[in-house]
């Protein structure tokens, strides 16, 4: 309690004097408390966590704000972004914001089928839906960690992993009912940011992160092994290519492809840009979209490694992309944009 009255000095009190003094102090305390209550209502001493989950504001321009991931659920597009925003669209043009129980920035979203999906974000938030994205329930909220979750991947409706800042990895075996931290020397030693987790065609899980970090699990996430990386700068994303291979993308326009992640043998792609790629997504078997800074979009052919650069619209950073009804839909600093057909 901040209001502290000037106290009389009590020198060697007798017990009677002490009692009187205590009584007097109590009265003064009551009086001060009363005065405080009169001037400013009496505060409660109960500590309350400063950060509590609060429902996201619904605003008309949500789709124009910072949006960080967009996925095709099979029935609709679901996008997540700043301030706990989750939006749905059936045409990639008009977006409807849905109610979400948190305001933390959501960084990634995955669906295992058209109805069951999860989104992760800052404050180690995990929210889940069982109705295709109409409603969302909070599964995890740990602001005290001061670590964000940056990507999520599910092997099936029950088993999933979320990766994030400072080596944070969470695992669930019950569809998100419980999220437990995963410990492994591959993540724990240097607490680097882990930006993506991707399920490869052979079922392996590939994690990318800061300083070119590549971590692989070939046993459904029980053990993790650090791979030799083709680069020592950050890799923001990865995309599976047929046969257990992957394409990874990252800072300064770097992108590498291997036909077999376990074996390594990464080959650099000539992307023609030095802009960072913050996300890469398979549009179909023959095209992978790499998106990033300054509205950069590069389309790569995983078979021939040929690339071609598209011109984005915004000039600001994109963070993810997906194909919807033949149009490329991107998320980024200027929100969600449908950029039309991609050759």
């Amino acid at each position: 309690m901040p209001a502290t009255p000037d106290r009389p000095v009590l020198a060697l009190p007798s017990s009677r004097h002490l009692l009187l003094a205590v009584a007097a102090l109590s009265l003064i305390g009551v009086a001060i408390g009363g005065a405080r209550a009169q001037d400013a209502a009496a505060p409660s001493a109960e500590p309350t966590p400063i950060y509590q989950p609060r429902a996201a504001d619904l605003e008309p321009l949500a789709s124009k704000g910072l949006m960080l991931d967009v996925v095709d659920t099979g029935k609709r597009l679901i996008a997540v972004g700043d301030r706990g925003h989750i939006l749905a669209s059936i045409d990639g043009q008009k977006w409807a914001q849905v109610t979400v129980p948190v305001r933390s920035a959501l960084t990634a979203v995955r669906f295992v089928d058209a109805e069951h999906g999860w989104a992760v974000g800052h404050d180690a938030v995990v929210v889940a839906t069982v109705d295709g994205g109409k409603t969302w329930q909070l599964q995890n909220f740990q602001p005290e960690l001061e670590k964000p979750l940056l990507d999520i991947e599910f092997l099936d409706a029950n088993t999933g992993f979320a990766v994030g800042g400072f080596g944070l990895v969470l695992r669930t075996e019950d569809g998100g009912g419980n999220w437990e931290p995963v410990s492994s020397p591959a993540f724990d030693t240097d607490e680097l940011n882990l930006y993506s987790i991707t399920r490869l065609a052979d079922g392996d899980l590939l994690v990318t992160g800061e300083q070119g970090r590549l971590v692989l699990s070939s046993d459904r996430g029980r053990t993790w092994k650090r791979l030799k990386s083709p680069v020592n700068s950050t890799l923001f994303g990865a995309v599976a290519v047929p046969g257990g291979g992957a394409l990874v993308c990252g800072l300064r326009g770097k992108a590498y492809l291997t036909r077999d992640v376990r074996a390594g043998a990464w080959r650099a792609l000539d992307t023609g840009t030095s802009a960072a790629f913050y996300g890469c997504t398979a549009l179909d078997r023959a095209r992978i979209a790499l998106v990033g800074d300054n509205g950069t979009i590069v389309i790569a052919d995983p078979a021939s490694l040929a690339t071609r650069k598209l011109t984005g619209e915004s000039g600001t950073a994109y963070s993810s992309a997906t194909l919807w009804q033949s149009s490329l839909v991107v998320s980024g600093e200027r929100g969600l944009q449908s950029l039309g057909r991609v050759r």
Partner: protein, 825 residues
């Protein structure tokens, strides 16, 4: 003991000897006064205020309406846009000129060098991601030499401009124009600011020099506006002279007497002279855009002067042998009613000058009020005295003989007194009233600065519009003040509240963007994390936040010295009042909901505690001793309020104008209703006289709304004055009508007589004013809004009186006793 005489009779008896007892002396005195006031009038400063948008209002908080450190907020601000006709501005040639001009502006005498901003200002910084780190630097490096610029350097500047989010602020959306902002040094006089505007304009033109076909410059801002407006004044002299001459000729023709026409015209010019002289005597100046006040005085003087002339002629024709007798009788009959209504109007307009917050409105209202007082004095003393020296024979005869041009109009007016035409007129009037009232709901309040009033060759309107269009983030900017505890720049919880408010305000229709400390911090934090958009969030860690705000220059005005103010800058698409209302509503709602959430978490504080904390910050002297002993250092929710910025200034000005215009019109109508009641003593007269005036006023407002013309600071006092002038005409017409009917005449005959008397004067004056106005317009070849509106107003008021008065009289007047007491002694 004899019964006490009515006040108007006592007034007539008191004033009459002052004017007529020693006519040569009074005439000489008035002539001397005219010469003195004429001399004063020549010394009147016609100067455009360059702080015309400054206002304190209830929405924009008092004292927070201007940020003296912000070049965009200061009254002496100037904006210069340099544009290229090439593909974009990232060329050696353009940047060389921009740098040269920026340096020339900074070195110019009279400028505040610290206020100069352009792409070349080191304070404009961006943050970029480099391998493993981030870097903050000026958009254009200090060692950049435009003439030696390489393509990579130019490409880098383009990228930095985008990164620093300068598009719409210092670079236009098409990236072909760049803005230089500056303001005059503190304490510069208006003349010095104008001199500075001229120098800046000349410097800008010199910089583009012979390459003028590839580059262009535009200059806007208060001092440049003042220079442009004042440049148009000399061009007004010729059309004003032509208009006055045409008005006098038409008046001479329609009054059927060159002498009467000349005297009325001369009296009107004397009234204008007195107005301008009085204005100088009270220490005021006249704004070029308020030059229309002269027209109001002219209209009032001609309308009332024509009444005096026609009254004089009627008395002369009625058997008074000398001009003096005719003048005296006419004066006794007309002086008090006309003077009462005009002085009541002047009082209402003067009240407007007192209560108005806009300096330009105050200045214009004062000029209008003084003009009306001048009309009362000149037409109440000088004109009757001059008429008293005119022989009765010539003017009286010429009125009865020759072709009477007004006879057809008088006849049409007489026809309205039938039951059926009267009902028809009232129904049509009711429909017009309804439609006009509906339409006038759309009438907006605007600032005079938005309106015409520039010489036709002036570049200013196009320059100002182009700058506002190209740099909306600079022109249409509104500041939201967010107050919090000191040292809050690095308090995550505070930043999150400000960030949430900024986002909510960004979603208000009409807002194109926002800038705030949390947004800038998020941008830097993104750079900390290698540019990843997924880290574009506020950190919770105070140390991280301390590092993040380090590259954000204090010149960006996103926080104050002790971090107790974290303003949000709003960039608006336009400046519609509805936007301000929506923003004010959003801010209020945020304050409520945010505080409730805050107190829900922080049980150690509450609304009373935080109110006390604010009081301790803003007014520590008002705390009681017990309150002063409390520890008021606990965190409280942020408190937001709309504060200022250029758009805020204008929005507030419009708000203030809209409020005061309703008050002014209702106030004047109330005062005039009382004046008519006092003069004529019955409700029927009040209704009959006020209804045509009210209808004409509403029709004028609807017309302005249809034409997209707002009520302006200079237009409002004129509109109010015209209402009063119109009411004087109605008063005289209706009292004539009532008197005739009381004498036993049928309505038709009474109205014809009324039109033949007072009506003839109204018609002649109205037609003369319209003809003079049109002639003036034709002479300038420039569509001057004030003159056109004046012509329209005279026509609308005239039509309403001409048709509505007899129609209402048809229903309200029966056999009544005359109630205007004409003293005879």
């Amino acid at each position: 003991m004899a019964a006490r005489l009515p006040l108007d009779v006592r007034l007539v008896r008191a004033i009459e000897p002052l004017i007529f007892a020693r006519r040569p002396f009074t005439l000489a005195l008035l002539a001397l006064l005219t010469v003195l006031l004429g001399w004063q009038a020549t010394r009147l400063t016609v100067t455009a205020a360059d702080d015309r948008e400054h206002v304190a209002s209830t929405v924009i908080q008092d004292g927070a309406d201007a940020d003296p450190a912000d070049p965009a907020d200061a009254p002496g601000r100037i904006r210069i846009a340099l544009s290229t006709r090439g593909n974009d501005l990232y060329t050696a040639g353009f940047l060389f000129r921009l740098k040269t001009l920026t340096e020339a502006v900074g070195a110019m005498p009279g400028i505040d060098p610290a206020s100069v901003r352009s792409l070349f200002s080191p304070a404009l910084r961006y943050v970029e991601v480099v391998e493993g780190a981030y870097r903050g630097a000026s958009v254009i490096p200090e060692d950049f030499v435009p003439t030696a610029a390489t393509p990579p350097q130019l490409a880098k500047i383009r990228a930095s401009v985008i990164d620093a989010e300068l598009i719409g602020q210092y670079v236009s959306a098409d990236q072909r124009s760049a803005l230089i902002e500056a303001r005059a040094r503190a304490g510069a006089t208006a003349a010095e600011r104008r001199q500075l505007a001229r120098r800046l304009d000349a410097a800008a033109r010199a910089v583009i020099g012979s390459a003028g076909s590839d580059f262009s410059v535009a200059v806007s801002g208060g001092p440049a506006l003042a220079v442009a407006l004042e440049a148009g004044l000399p061009a007004l002299a010729r059309p004003a002279a032509i208009g006055a001459a045409v008005m006098a000729i038409v008046l001479m023709t329609l009054l059927g007497s060159p002498t009467l026409g000349l005297l009325v015209s001369a009296g009107a010019l004397v009234a204008v002279t007195w107005q301008l002289g009085l204005l100088k005597l009270v220490g005021a100046a006249l704004d070029p855009q308020a030059i229309g006040v002269v027209l109001v005085t002219l209209a009032a003087a001609v309308l009332q002067g024509a009444q005096v002339a026609v009254g004089w002629r009627r008395e002369a024709a009625g058997g008074h042998r000398s001009g003096f007798e005719a003048s005296l009788q006419s004066w006794r009959r007309l002086a008090i009613p006309a003077a009462s209504a005009l002085l009541a109007t002047a009082a209402a307009v003067f009240a407007l000058a007192v209560i108005a917050k806009l300096p330009l409105l105050r200045q214009t209202a004062l000029a209008v009020a003084l003009g009306l007082v001048a009309v009362v004095i000149v037409n109440g003393s000088l004109l009757p005295l001059l008429l008293s020296r005119v022989g009765t024979t010539a003017p009286a005869r010429s009125a009865s003989g020759g072709r009477d041009l007004l006879a057809p109009l008088v006849a049409i007016g007489g026809a309205v007194t039938g039951w059926v035409p009267a009902i028809g007129v009232l129904i049509v009037a009711a429909m017009i009233f309804g439609g006009s009232a509906w339409q006038s709901r759309e009438l907006s309040a605007g600032l005079a600065a938005d309106q015409a009033g520039f010489p036709s060759a002036s570049r200013y309107p196009a320059d100002a519009a182009a700058i506002a269009r190209q740099f909306p983030r600079s022109a249409h900017r509104l500041t939201v003040r967010v107050s919090t505890a000191p040292d809050s720049c690095t308090r995550a919880e505070t930043l999150e509240q400000v960030d949430r408010l900024a986002w909510q305000l960004a979603n208000v229709p009409g807002v194109s963007g926002t800038a705030s400390l949390p947004q800038a911090t998020r941008r830097v934090l993104t750079a900390f994390s290698e540019g990843s958009p997924k880290f574009r969030v506020l950190a919770r860690n105070r140390e991280t936040l301390t590092q993040a705000i380090a590259p954000i220059p204090v010149e960006n005005r996103l926080f104050n010295g002790d971090c107790s103010e974290l303003p949000i800058q709003l960039f608006l698409n336009d400046e519609r009042p509805v936007t301000l209302a929506a923003l004010a509503e959003r801010v209020t709602a945020f304050n409520g909901s945010n505080a409730a959430e805050f107190y829900d978490i922080h049980k150690d504080v509450d609304a009373a505690y935080c109110a006390l904390q604010r009081k301790a910050r803003t007014d520590p002297g008002s705390l009681t001793k017990a309150q002063a002993r409390l520890d008021l250092g606990l965190a409280c929710p942020v408190q937001a309020e709309l504060a200022g910025g250029p758009a805020g200034q204008r929005l507030a000005a419009r708000e203030a104008l809209a409020d005061v215009s309703v008050q002014a019109l209702i106030g004047l109508l109330a005062v005039l209703a009382l004046a008519v009641w006092w003069l004529l003593g019955d409700a029927a007269s009040v209704i009959a006289i006020l209804v045509p005036t009210v209808l004409a006023t509403v029709v004028m407002q609807a017309l302005m709304s249809l034409l997209g013309l707002p009520i302006t600071a200079v237009g409002l006092p004129q509109l109010v004055a015209l209402l009063g002038v119109s009411l004087v005409a109605n008063l005289l017409l209706f009292s004539d009508l009532r008197q005739s009917m009381a004498g036993g005449a049928a309505v038709a005959l009474a109205w014809t007589r009324s039109l033949d008397g007072a009506g003839r004067a109204v018609l002649a004056a109205s037609l003369a004013l319209m003809a003079g106005g049109l002639a003036g317009l034709a002479a300038t070849g420039d569509g001057r809004q004030a003159v056109l509106l004046m012509i329209a107003a005279v026509a609308v008021h005239g039509l309403c009186s001409w048709l509505l008065l007899p129609a209402i009289g048809r229903f309200l007047l029966t056999e009544r006793k005359p109630e205007i007491v004409v003293p005879r002694y």
